[in-house]
Symmetry: C3
Subunit: 382 residues, 3 copies
């Protein structure tokens, strides 16, 4: 036959000859048990822990969310330093349009009829130094033996925010309710969900109120209930304000055998009460309503608004069977299976009585000096 033919044949052999390890069968129950047992452990870990507990076979996506909130309720205030007044949503909800974060006014320091003019600086007892709340005009007069006050050009009269009511002005706010509409999307799985579940009908929604026990799916929450579930007292919180998180957990398992995907509500106070390392505790901000007097002078009513800001925080991860994570995890587990024989061999060649016999047959020690046959006894018999 020609040379090429031989060459190509040899190469054919090289590709398609199948090389398989020679093996030795040890008919020993004990070794076999060790082998099977370690194998079992690995398999158990994979099935039990990785798959069942950790759901490592899933690929995940994180949530995209839209929130609408609508507060309902009204209050009536009748205090000494203010006319009797009726409050509705347009008065106490800021900003009005109700997105994921809304503020309910509960207490306030009102400074009406401010105009751009000159007035004496008020002494802020809270600081040792005098805090200027305006531009100094230069005129100063003795205010007391210790401190002098000066005339400032500012919005006068100045706000005196030290006289904050101890009782929340809108104590009644605790009975307001808020309707939270939340629709989420998992783009990777093209999944859309709403916190108003399919089985709920409109008539129920008109009268229901959220309660863990009786109405866990109702999207209407009483503010008092929210605050108390967060472990706070509404009336306390209402005085100086605070931030309260309405946390909606949309963790979903989308595999058909699980297929559970509904919101879990929880509530938590997000600002810090701890007085030790804190600054400007509570939650408040200043805003003004601007008016014009008949003769065209601009006046404003400055309101230092204390209240509770409710942040609707939506988070979650959806998991669904994915081929890649499955393969990766199985692969990783498999490679542990490849450790099993190592363990068994070690056991066999060290712990067994007949280890010498086993090793003699398993291991061949190549005696290089004797070009001839290998010595038949293993390297472990020194």
């Amino acid at each position: 036959m020609s040379k090429t033919a031989g060459c190509c044949q040899s190469c054919l052999h090289y590709v398609f000859d199948y090389e398989t390890p020679k093996t030795l069968v040890i008919p020993s129950i004990r070794v076999g048990c060790v082998f099977r047992f370690t194998q079992l452990l690995v398999v158990l870990y994979v099935v039990g822990y990785v798959c069942v507990v950790q759901k490592a076979y899933q690929e995940t996506d994180s949530v995209i969310s839209t929130v609408t909130t609508k507060v309902k309720g009204f209050a009536f205030t009748n205090t000494s330093d203010m006319d009797p007044r009726f409050w509705d949503v347009a008065d106490y909800v800021i900003p009005p349009q109700g997105d994921h974060s809304f503020f309910v006014l509960t207490n306030m320091v009102v400074t009406p009829l401010q105009t751009q003019s000159r007035c004496p600086e008020t002494v802020q007892k809270t600081f040792i130094f005098i805090f200027y709340s305006g531009i100094l005009t230069g005129l100063c007069e003795n205010y007391s033996t210790t401190v002098r006050t000066c005339e400032v050009l500012s919005w006068c009269p100045l706000e005196i925010d030290t006289k904050l009511p101890e009782q929340a002005l809108l104590a009644a706010a605790e009975n307001f309710t808020v309707l939270i509409k939340n629709s989420v999307t998992y783009p990777k799985f093209n999944l859309h969900r709403r916190n108003i579940l399919p089985h709920i009908n409109s008539s129920y929604l008109k009268r229901c109120e959220f309660s863990r026990t009786t109405d866990p799916d109702c999207p209407i929450f009483r503010l008092k209930h929210i605050v108390s579930e967060a472990g706070e007292d509404f009336q306390d919180m209402a005085v100086k304000g605070g931030i309260l998180g309405i946390i909606i957990d949309w963790s979903c398992d989308l595999d058909w055998w699980a297929g559970k995907c509904y919101p879990k509500y929880s509530f938590r106070r997000l600002d810090n009460k701890n007085p030790v390392n804190n600054v400007a505790p509570g939650y408040n901000f200043r805003f003004a309503k601007y008016y014009k007097t008949p003769d065209g002078v601009e006046t404003r009513t400055l309101i230092k608004a204390y209240g509770i800001r409710f942040d609707v925080i939506v988070f979650g991860t959806a998991g669904k069977f994915g081929i890649v994570p499955t393969i990766v995890n199985l692969g990783a587990a498999l490679s542990f299976l490849s450790l099993v024989p190592v363990v068994s061999d070690w056991f066999m060649l060290t712990c067994m009585k007949k280890r010498d016999l086993y090793s003699r047959h398993k291991v061949t020690y190549l005696n290089e000096d004797a070009e001839a046959e290998p010595v038949s006894d293993s390297s472990f018999t020194f």
Copy 2:
């Protein structure tokens, strides 16, 4: 030689002797084919699926985004129950500062000249019971044979939100345009991008308008176009309002051979139209403009604003070649390669005609009773 020398030498042997499995070569094309074929399958899976399709070799980061929106356009309304009025951005966009979520007023129920006073409760036909929109003063009078109404202390006159115009007041809003500026960051890759692509120049931006076919990169959108792409009719939606998502997908493949990273726009209605399980359909909120009469009495104009809230939702994941995910996936695949011989062996020892011959040479059965040589049908008896 000394004992220590011997010991250390043996330990040297223990470390540096190389133990390799003895193998048997089966010159059978069929077995070889099975072997190579299964090998091929695994390799194909790794290269084809994991790498090409799933890009499992990439490490990912999720997007951080900033959005600015600016609405342009004006409208003119001339209805029976309202003076002729010209509307510009400052009138109909709430909140004005245009961040990722903006509201365009399209319809409204206006209740002007409200003051804190007393007036008879209006009967809300929508409910069977009377909904009190104020504090009862105690005075009540027969309203009809069926229902009685009572005097309330409230913002009077009360709002009658049942007379909502069937035609959207600001129907012209459909021709408003919105400029959306979106800049994103992938912190892990320190990558910054804008939705105004580099190849676009200012003069183009001044006159362009988004259109999938002709101007897919123009960041200026006509509201009507947005709504219609979401599969809705603007005029329908404008009456009772709604929420519309402007979804910007910034999924990026940052590997140099791909290097594509540009925004993909899509539009979707986010609120629920389904009347069955819904409450407060559409989208509206109340806000008030506060005035003072010459004699200092506070009055307000209450506006129940219906309109479309546009939420700009930015999401995306950037992927870039990463050494760790690559190693992990390769490793996992490798461990599958280690399964290939198992398959081939099984095939060889069960499906082949000469299986007995093969097994006789491959497998040696250790006969423990005969302490002597292994049974002679092994491959060891040269």
Copy 3:
């Protein structure tokens, strides 16, 4: 003995007989070194790179954050086209409630006393064509030889936004300070943190100011400082406005041996200054204050507000030792270890002088034709 017994015994053998590969020990230092060295490389990679550098043994969670901001400071303006005016927070911060995004007014075009009426269209020099800022009444008159202007029904007088002050009106805004409160949550690890670190006390917070060198943990920032760290000049930016990102990186390593989890602040300008491909540079929006004249006519003051919008952007990933990622990465590495023998064998059978000897003892070539013993020399000697 009975047939069943025999069968069951054989099956017992099948399960518990332990099959281990026969091996050949090569007492060659060089081969041994190659073997150990490649082994070492893999182990080094795993320990060094995957674990130490990439922390691939960690499972991660991304941050949930709440932000409160409070701006302090006041300004005094005294320009020709405006009365002397004192500005405080309620005047220049929009929206007032201070969440993650707040706007500080620095420059403006004020158009006071607008009413719904008729006035001649102003010619916008900036465009070649006339931009109608109202509804045409039909009346038009020659404005010049080139352009004619027409009467419009609109909010009159019309805004002339071409006369924007070159100097920022509220230049003093650079000395305003902002207090940023940020509390974050890692739901998976149930971890809560605040940017006001535990070791900070209230008295320090009352007077501190952020500075990389001296006060890196102080949550109070001077606007000027923020802008300059972003590489911008406040006065330049203040004229036409812009968007500035206050980026808080909450990347955490929660393993006990690391346990570092504190915020890292950085600042970056988010809008685009590049004039080439840009539209509506800077940042501005229009809003109006509505008044009523004594005779009940609605007037408004239109304000085109230029200023800096500060977006507090919080991002981060927390990592903590997780059993699954660890296993997966170890597994992947292990499967690389299974490659080591392949490498060594290849080296032994190709690069070594005694390769023929080795292969003769390692590899047995099954000679199918001779049903009898296999030929003792390897398959590579045709």
